[in-house]
């Protein structure tokens, strides 16, 4: 299956940020499968030492944000991005990148992307959406390099982000109505689905994210 040539990723480290929400081990193993060392970290120092950051997440938005603030990741993530290094949010980890969510009692997000997170506009379809769905790319990006249009990914979500800036949208899907599947505001990325559970397409996306981290690292070193 998809793997980067080991020379490209040797020494590369993408940290998986642990805040007690979600299946970190699957993300770790999927990254290892594409040839990337992916330590699960929970302190700022270890995170800053990495070349890229993944923010996973399964569960409810308000609880996730409470834990993110408690761990001071609301400071860490913007600092990491400000240093030019890439961040990828997965599922709930993508939703918290936005300004706010209406889930449960509602909560403020990290505000790194403009927009609100709202219930899926699913019509008669069952919520949560659980299963594979097609994603159409709205433009080209290093994150989607080599992926067919559309591609299939595995989703498990009841909510989705309503982007304000159409420029931030990279992939769209349909579940009763169109919804945001992938966002890109380089070096910030987000996927509503689970790439670690999405077979070849998902692994390819993770490998592409690793390649973005490699390129950012190389550019920083050559300065």
């Amino acid at each position: 299956m998809t793997a980067l040539p080991s020379a490209e990723t040797s020494g590369l480290e993408i940290a998986i940020l642990d805040y007690g929400m979600g299946n970190l081990r699957s993300v770790e193993k999927a990254l290892e499968h594409v040839g990337v060392q992916a330590p699960i970290v929970s302190d700022a120092e270890a995170a800053h030492a990495a070349d890229g950051l993944i923010l996973p997440g399964v569960g409810a938005f308000p609880e996730a944000m409470r834990r993110i603030r408690e761990a001071r990741y609301d400071e860490l993530i913007p600092e990491f991005l400000a240093s030019g290094k890439p961040v990828l949010g997965i599922c709930l980890g993508m939703q918290v990148l936005f300004e706010s969510s209406s889930e449960h009692e509602g909560a403020w997000g990290l505000g790194l992307l403009q927009g609100r997170v709202e219930s899926l506009d699913a019509g008669d379809l069952k919520v949560p959406q659980l299963g594979w769905n097609e994603v159409r790319w709205t433009r080209s990006s290093p994150l989607t390099e080599g992926l067919p249009n559309p591609s299939y990914f595995y989703f498990a979500n009841s909510f989705s982000a309503r982007v304000v800036n159409r420029d931030d949208l990279l992939g769209e899907s349909d579940y009763g109505a169109p919804f945001t599947a992938v966002v890109e505001k380089a070096p910030l990325y987000g996927a509503q689905f689970h790439p670690e559970k999405s077979s070849t397409h998902g692994l390819r996306m993770l490998a592409n994210f690793a390649k973005i981290c490699v390129d950012v690292k190389a550019a920083a070193l050559s300065k």
């Binding site: 081990r25 699957s26 999927a30 499968h33 069952k126 769905n133 067919p148 249009n149 999405s198």
Partner: protein, 266 residues
């Protein structure tokens, strides 16, 4: 777009090896479960189910180890069943990398377990597995199918359709419905049983037991209203590939995830 219909290879595991029997006995060795699951992932399987069929009280470690090995190598969602008796058992398997847990006998013994698990992990993690057998008892509103447990050895007296409805009310997010009359026979899914349950509950139903041809898989979705079809020996012994099954579904007008015929975007 309505959800895609799924094809799910099922790996019955005994002492770490895949086995597949006829009517739950007469087992043949069919290989390493994780290697097989990897192959099915490459062929386009949508999910994989691992069922530890000889689960005893002290082999929770065995299923956790299986979940860990699967998570190391298989990058599609997978379900683990067999020997899960508590929230703690389920937690260990989910932490190891499983996406869902299937419960069967333990839920019959203590129905409250379904709700406890749904509360902690969410309904989407909880699969209620039901082994149903046809009975002549259709009196007093009974459906004519009864629930059996312990691999078909114990008659529970529960009505299969009523149990499915109760399971969903208690928080099961999916029903894995096996016809014990059909299991291993290759005579096709029990269409009537599957349709009765699928039409009675609001969650996805996985048809299981008896698939012998690709037409049976199509019928499981088209006639029996299942959201997914579980397949074991049809794939394990190389009669058909997952890809061939996907094509048969597509040719019948069923919406599935196709993994070939991809034109890579430039």
């Amino acid at each position: 777009m309505p959800p895609l219909k799924r094809i799910i290879p099922c790996l019955d595991v005994d002492n770490g090896r895949v086995v597949k029997g006829t009517n739950f006995v007469d087992l043949r060795d069919a290989g390493d479960p994780v290697e097989l699951a990897e192959r099915y992932d490459e062929e386009g399987a949508d999910e994989v189910v691992f069922l530890d069929i000889t689960a005893t009280s002290d082999d929770r470690d065995t299923i956790v180890e299986l979940a860990r090995r699967a998570a190391d190598n298989v990058f599609i969602p997978f379900t683990i069943g067999g020997g899960i008796r508590s929230v703690e058992d389920a937690q260990a398997v989910l932490d190891a990398g499983a996406d869902k847990v299937a419960i069967n006998s333990s839920a019959v013994k203590r129905p409250g377990l379904i709700g406890e698990m749904a509360e902690v992990f969410g309904s989407q993690c909880v699969v209620l597995a039901i082994d149903a057998k046809h009975t002549s008892d259709t009196a007093r509103g009974r459906s004519g199918w009864e629930v059996f447990t312990a691999g078909g050895r114990i008659e529970t007296g529960l009505d299969a359709v009523a149990w499915a409805i109760e399971g969903v009310e208690r928080g099961a997010g999916e029903i894995l419905l096996t016809s014990m009359d059909r299991d291993g026979t290759k005579d096709g899914y029990d269409i009537e049983l599957t349709r009765t349950v699928a039409d009675a509950v609001s969650v996805p139903v996985i048809a299981s037991g008896g698939a012998g041809t690709l037409d049976d898989l199509v019928a499981g979705v088209a006639d029996a209203h299942a959201d997914a079809v579980l397949v074991a020996s049809l794939f394990h012994f190389g009669e058909y590939t997952v890809s061939q099954a996907k094509h048969a579904m597509q040719d019948a007008g069923i919406n599935v995830r196709m993994v070939e015929s991809e034109h890579v975007a430039s």
